[in-house]
Symmetry: C2
Subunit: 495 residues, 2 copies
């Protein structure tokens, strides 16, 4: 029973905040103490972390975020040249274009989530590469250090813990936040559709409302309210979610919630036109298809969101049971807090090589960044496609820099960076439900090119996604999910 | 835009608690008002619900609970003879023997959850059959009425709502509760393993601890604590979970959490012997296998549970990061609150036909019931097998009663019920990890019969479960999950 006695010894040292010897002496992870500009808040202990890399170690690339941009970058980076450290509040990437399908059970949640360790295996294996479940709370570009705090989601496992990481190269890919346009009540009562937990919440609430509306004594009005699903925002996410929802109603609710099937309705509210980035003909097609499957399209602007109804600017009250908000994104508080030059719209301003020009060795990609006005380039749309292309570009750029010996902090100042980043739009896709989709392969709204709508597009849409979901495991699960939904219908267990 | 104007009208009637006309006049759902013994608490409105069935309607069977017993009964009941109303806080059955496998991702959560509408489709289609997401809060056996309250899980969708249901036949199958033996802190800090949300919580916490323990600056002691998984209770659930956990560690943690793999440990604490219902030889085999895969078996009794450590009766402190509690079950507060004759152990007392003999038309099956002492029969173990057999028995009994015209309330008093319920144990199975399982096909501990252990047993164990998971959809998903776990390893996305 020696092992058990050893185990018990540990308890005498409970919760001690002594520093792990590994982090102070024997390893590349050295203590960064007394960086006076770092306020550590209420935590009085010195801030531990990963210190500057030494000559016998690989240079360290720190990636903030695990979305399309950050993950594509990590996938592309040469781990023979660099150690990779990822800091993100979630340990997986969300395959956002398929997220709407998980809300009603067409796909399962895990089929659209890809663990970062599967995208870049070095993170779980290499001694100098790490994934930290944490938020970045501050940046000190002059000392090449980021400050972080662990994310514990209220678990009593461990108190939030602060630490610092020195970087040789930093990539800020922390994304954007859903915009509420300052409308009161949106954050409290509406559900966004950006993370897996949002989709889980939507699915649980939808099933809850379906069941509650069947309880004896509920009034007709209350039933109609509970089963009124309102989607605000007519971009691809809002349209795809509305389409999925109407599919779910037509196919599954009619069969499995026969008592209340006549009370369920979907309304899509958009201030302008739906799918404004698509071809006119495709947009008309989408409008026709959505209307045909029972989605009510309303042009309106939301003024106020209350627990059970929203109020439009024209004074109309719209009662709802489920409210999904997908009106686009704006800068996150972290990005806003950084005192660095910004691009139009409050994004971090980057030059043609996606660098932050005012500091050394910092890049920014994805929804959190935009070209500085001085570059003369337009702000790119907040699309997975843009983020992915930028991640790939910076990965290649860093690999080139690393090969030429510029991997260390402050060592690539004079280096020739090669071709700047140029974005070429490959086209847009959106599904509108009932095995119909839109595919717009034009490079811009004004350009000429192929624009398709219908079943063939839907087939292209599915195939395109099947080949883009990153791992074979998830490709397999997406195909299996689609097949079982087709054969057995969607799963309605509320778990 | 007529539809939208109609929609808006609803909002003027917001939250009104007027009674739905459907429930007062045109349908079998009539108002049960002023049943003076029903206190409706803070809710001042009269209690709506399903009134007594009329002559032109089918008799109504009300089932409380959606576990093995209730679901097997609903599956077996003849819906040409009866309307079925199920009242349960969850809309699915949990395939409990496979629940331990979902905690580490060997199986997915949805593969072990079967929606009630798939078990008994009449519930979602027939006009007189319902599923209500609610708890039963009271029983008035003399008036043949149960009182219920909706379960809203804190959602702001609708306030909890009370209603009554009249029954012709009532089946109490509401199950038991995990026992804590009055030990302080168990409910607050330990996780049970009885529902899908428990398994989800375990999986999230395990992955959280794996990631937190990798954060710089965490002490060695804290790391060992975070990654110490303690299981209390050496019954089949505790043993299977420990086995799954050690499989996960050997196969997945070593590959994907290489930095912290040497800190993770599993300890199984049991006051007596593990798997006490199994054959001695099988028990020794299980002990050997578990020890070989790194599970530490400790004989001890827990005295106190604190947020980060448990204290045993001998004074030992055991620090933990994850604590799973599976020490058996006891009566639920609802069952304890019923003023009806009880069986030993506080269960609802039933006669040989599983009826509550003091009242008319009430049966009780599964973990919440036990034979009255007067029957001279022993209390049956709280096993899925017992519950399932009892559900099947009562379904057949009710079908016979219904066919003979005794379906209505108070109409089967003098009826001959036929053969009483006799339980024949078919054997026990448990897996111990690493493709090894125990199969004990003896009818009791003293009886002779087949007792196997090893890979063949494991294969029998898997096949037996694959043929017992109720729907083809879930059989398919369980097989697919097992295959992908084998090929790709377990999924570690923390969603």
């Amino acid at each position: 029973m020696t092992w058990f006695r050893n185990l018990i010894k540990l308890s005498t040292l409970k919760n001690s905040r002594q520093l792990d010897p590994k982090f102070t002496a024997t390893s590349p992870l050295t203590l960064i103490a007394s960086l006076s500009q770092f306020s550590t808040g209420t935590d009085a202990s010195p801030c531990a972390g990963l210190g500057p890399t030494k000559a016998d170690e690989k240079p360290r690339v720190v990636v903030l975020g695990s979305g399309w941009a950050g993950c594509r970058l990590m996938k592309g980076i040469d781990t023979k040249l660099y150690d990779v450290v990822c800091v993100s509040p979630r340990n997986h990437m969300v395959f956002t274009p398929l997220l709407a399908s998980t809300c009603v059970g067409t796909l399962e949640f895990r089929s659209v989530a890809e663990p970062i360790g599967r995208i870049q295996p070095a993170i779980s294996r290499e001694p100098g590469s790490y994934f930290f479940l944490a938020n970045c709370t501050g940046l000190d570009p002059h000392n090449h250090v980021v400050q972080c705090q662990t994310v514990t989601n209220g678990a009593d496992t461990l108190d939030p813990w602060k630490f610092n990481i020195s970087y040789d190269k930093l990539i800020i890919a922390s994304g954007a936040e859903a915009s509420t346009f300052g409308i009161k009540g949106v954050k409290e009562h509406a559900i966004f559709l950006r993370e897996v937990h949002h989709a889980q919440e939507i699915r649980r609430k939808l099933l809850l409302n379906l069941m509650l509306s069947d309880v004896p004594g509920i009034t007709e009005e209350e039933k109609s309210r509970l089963l009124h699903c309102v989607v605000v925002g007519g971009g691809p996410t809002g349209v795809e979610f509305s389409g999925e929802l109407s599919d779910f109603i037509i196919r599954d609710v009619h069969q499995r919630y026969a008592h209340v099937k006549d009370y369920i309705n979907v309304t899509l509210i958009e201030a302008n036109e739906i799918l404004s980035s698509f071809d006119d003909r495709l947009r008309r097609y989408a409008t026709k298809q959505l209307t045909k499957s029972g989605v009510r399209l309303v042009r309106g602007i939301v003024k106020d969101v209350q627990p059970q109804k929203i109020i439009l600017t024209d004074g109309t009250d719209v009662p709802y049971g489920l409210l999904v908000w997908s009106t686009g994104v704006g800068p996150s508080p972290f990005v806003s807090s950084l005192e660095l030059p910004k691009a139009p719209g409050g994004r971090l301003g980057v030059d043609e090589w996606l660098r932050l020009p005012s500091v050394q060795d910092v890049f920014s990609i994805g929804d959190c960044s935009g070209f500085l006005e001085s570059t003369g380039k337009p702000t790119l749309p907040a699309l997975a496609q843009v983020a992915e292309r930028q991640g790939k570009y910076v990965a290649n750029l860093l690999n080139r820099i690393g090969k030429s010996g510029g991997g260390r902090a402050n060592s690539a100042k004079e280096m020739e960076l090669g071709e700047p980043f140029v974005y070429k739009h490959l086209g847009s896709m959106a599904t509108v439900g009932r095995y119909k989709a839109l595919v717009d392969l034009r490079q811009s709204k004004e350009a000429k090119g192929l624009a398709l709508a219908g079943f063939v597009s839907w087939f292209i849409w599915r195939s395109a996604y099947l080949t883009r979901v990153i791992s074979w495991r998830n490709r397999f699960y997406v195909a299996i999910n689609w097949a079982t939904t087709f054969v057995f219908g969607r799963d309605i267990s509320r778990i």
